[in-house]
């Protein structure tokens, strides 16, 4: 079993000379999940996107390690899954087609009944043939979790885990978070107090915030 870890080293981000946060450092690994908290606009989502290497940090850098060997940022996408309310799946495809696309691109081979179990777990089984465009926002969010769980990526990033979810959805996601906390390196952003239970280390951006 390879040990994966992520090192954030003094990351700071300024946007056109307006400082968002400074010197964020932590080391995330399997079993040491990180929660990023802070008031709205303190840059939680920006920090998450920097960790994903989707946004360049102004200072400091993000390094991924597999058995203490740095992973080149060109191929880091293979080990990452990201769940957030502000991106969409392919709405003209059905749930199965979206899942199939993700599986093929990550060259993973997963049997159909395992997929059906996962869909069942996230209570999407009887909608799996419908186009994602007709899904409610809660169902779309659950489908993103379902894809992340099927791929079993080593790094899982989540922005506002329980957004657009009803109580039943929250329960499913809480079980999911508890389960993956021990299997993959979890980093998530939230400001709901009851979600902090899944983190071993909390990074509070409001303290580091300057403005």
């Amino acid at each position: 079993m390879k040990i994966y870890s992520l090192l954030a080293d003094k990351i700071s981000k300024t946007f056109n000379s307006q400082k968002i946060f400074k010197n964020v450092s932590f080391n995330a690994f399997v079993g040491n999940s990180i929660a990023i908290t802070g008031s709205n606009g303190s840059g939680k989502s920006t920090l998450l996107k920097i960790l994903l290497k989707y946004i360049h940090p102004s200072k400091g850098d993000v390094k991924y390690f597999c058995d203490n060997k740095e992973i080149e940022s060109q191929i880091i996408y293979q080990n990452i899954s990201f769940v957030a309310p502000y991106f969409n799946l392919y709405e003209e495809f059905t749930a199965l087609e979206n899942i199939e696309l993700a599986i093929k691109l990550k060259s993973k081979y997963i049997s159909n009944d395992l997929i059906n179990d996962e869909l069942n777990r996230f209570s999407l089984f009887n909608h799996s043939k419908k186009e994602v465009g007709h899904y409610s926002s809660g169902m779309k969010q659950r489908l993103k979790y379902c894809i992340a769980n099927i791929l079993k990526s080593d790094f899982i990033f989540i922005d506002e885990p329980t957004s657009n979810l009803d109580d039943e959805g929250k329960k499913i996601v809480f079980d999911f978070l508890k389960e993956i906390q021990s299997t993959s390196c979890l980093i998530y952003a939230t400001n709901e107090k009851d979600e902090l239970q899944f983190a071993n280390e909390i990074v509070d951006l409001s303290l580091l915030n300057l403005n």
């Binding site: 060109q74 996408y77 899954s81 969409n88 392919y90 003209e92 691109l105």
Partner: protein, 218 residues
């Protein structure tokens, strides 16, 4: 390499489902061609003019259809989903394949329309070869500029302003080569044009593969 085929097939499937840009391009060619036919009336036009009409229709159809290939991902918010699934190069090659085949199909459609409606126009093998090389070139320029545009979130007019200067070398050679091919030139006369177009396409694709990695993240 197979990842880009998956991306290509995904784009083809989503194009079949929505059929948005395919219809706009076909309608575009029909309207532009009908305007030309009204203007020409029934007197026969010389070969250079038919060639210039052909490439005007083809370029502007490409300009209107191909610029959306990356912007669509940004607008519909699916970019972050794609970002976590594939590398910038495989997505670029996938989109490039889609654009190239898409342009070739549209150009064949224009070819048929032109041979039906304009009698002086008779496409031969060399012309089709020129057209295919030209479509690959147009597609490669459009794909990399579409990637730039998708990051700048501004109107598609910027797309035309950015891609036109880069297309000019290809356009000049295309017009000369297609003129020669229609007039029935031998291969030896057109070898210079073919080698230029092949060289131009290869260097553009290689440069774009290097540049796309810098366009991938914010």
């Amino acid at each position: 390499m197979s990842y880009s085929n998956i991306i290509f097939l995904k784009d083809v499937k989503s194009e079949f489902r929505t059929r948005v840009s395919f219809n706009t391009q076909l309608l575009f060619t029909i309207t532009t061609l009908s305007i030309i036919l009204f203007a020409v009336g029934n007197e026969s036009i010389s070969i250079p003019t038919t060639i210039s009409f052909y490439w005007i229709v083809s370029i502007f159809a490409a300009m209107s259809g191909l610029s959306r290939v990356f912007v669509k991902e940004e607008e519909r918010g699916t970019f972050l989903f794609l970002f976590q699934l594939a590398s910038s190069q495989s997505v670029f090659i996938g989109k490039l394949l889609f654009n190239a085949i898409f342009t070739i199909l549209v150009n064949f459609f224009i070819l048929i329309l032109f041979s039906l409606f304009i009698d002086t126009f008779s496409a031969n093998l060399f012309f089709i070869l020129v057209m295919i090389l030209g479509s690959i070139g147009i597609a490669s320029v459009s794909t990399i500029v579409a990637a730039i545009i998708s990051k700048v979130n501004s109107s598609t007019t910027l797309y035309t302003v950015l891609s036109f200067p880069i297309l000019i070398p290809l356009l000049m050679t295309l017009i000369q080569a297609s003129q020669l091919s229609i007039e029935g030139a031998f291969f030896s006369e057109m070898r210079g044009h073919f080698s230029f177009m092949i060289g131009y396409n290869i260097s553009l694709i290689l440069i774009s593969l290097y540049l796309i990695t810098y366009l991938w993240s914010e």
